[in-house]
Point group: C2
Chain length 209, copies 2
């Protein structure tokens, strides 16, 4: 006899199966039959627990986004130096993407290219931009030498950061051989060191902890 | 009597009208009736010249992308210093986006969120990334102090550049009050100066020409 699993465990299993199938087939070609099969659960039960395919996709998207944001928040230590905050945040971000390449493809690529979900994704992205902008504002307030900037400046800068990180994460998701820590180092060189210093031979290196 | 216009002029008028209508309504809600009306041409003629709504959208997308790339290519002067190349390229890029906010919305946002066109856009983006990677490689070869890097490093860096520029351009398209030259300066600070030097109070300023 099949052991009865708590509802929450069963739901997570179904979501894991759904992320896998959406990632492999794309939203349109993914079938509820295959998701049920991968989850080892009957199709009516998938519907009963998680609703239509569209609702299921949205639930996957939100779960992956929440996990990603939690991982980054756990990485950043707001009391540390700006470069350490940035490094730890980026490291957590790329480690998450590297460990959930499937999830990233669902979260980012599929959702981005579906008019139904693009709004949801844009809302998540706007919240991430706000968080990054407030981290930048905090780092700037700590730095004595930095000129005061207007709130709009932080927001615009945050758009550039988030765009660069997204684009690199997308690249990472396609490069199985790339180490996520190395991707984080690339981004540190881009964002922290800057091209001027890079061309003068300066590079960013993580310090031993 | 209506003066007969050369075919190529008439086509450009229709494309201008189409970009305007797609941008205002979105791909799905845009109607060929409205495009014909804005262009001052009968609907059968729009179909005869430019095909279905989908074909018309693709033609708009390709025209806008070609114009954008031509503008950037005309801006970059490959013989100049790396920072000047970057500055002139960014300036041309953001000036184009600022002057064609409608076009950017068609080119980037609509195409990105339509599964039909996402492949076309991804192909264009890949070509832009290649160009940026080869510019980076050229700049690095000029710089004596910079460490030799592998081709993959330039490609990854190019993804970060293109992602940051896209994200900021998207922001610019939504901010009518923002001066494109100022956006280019933001990007120079992000890319060229880097956060470390910025927090030490260094900023990038365009030199008088």
């Amino acid at each position: 006899m099949l052991k009865r699993l708590p509802r929450v465990v069963r739901e997570q299993q179904m979501l894991d199966a759904a992320v896998q199938v959406f990632s492999r087939r794309g939203f349109h070609a993914a079938s509820m039959d295959e998701i049920a099969e991968v989850a080892g659960i009957s199709k009516p039960m998938v519907y009963a627990y998680l609703g239509t395919k569209e609702e299921l996709f949205l639930t996957c998207l939100r779960r992956e986004a929440t996990r990603l944001m939690e991982a980054v928040a756990a990485g950043v230590r707001p009391a540390s130096r700006p470069d350490e905050q940035l490094w730890n945040g980026l490291r957590a971000f790329f480690a998450f993407v590297g460990a959930h390449r499937d999830g990233w493809r669902v979260l980012y690529r599929q959702a981005r290219s579906e008019p139904h979900f693009a709004g949801e994704l844009a809302g998540m992205r706007a919240r991430i931009v706000e968080v990054v902008a407030s981290l930048l504002e905090g780092a700037c307030a700590q730095a004595e030498a930095a000129k005061p900037a207007r709130p709009d400046d932080f927001l615009a800068m945050a758009y550039a950061y988030v765009g660069a990180a997204e684009s690199l994460a997308d690249w990472l998701a396609d490069h199985e051989e790339e180490d996520p820590e190395h991707t984080a180092t690339r981004m540190m060189n881009f964002v922290w060191v800057g091209a001027d210093a890079l061309l003068q031979g300066r590079v960013w290196r993580a310090q031993a902890e």
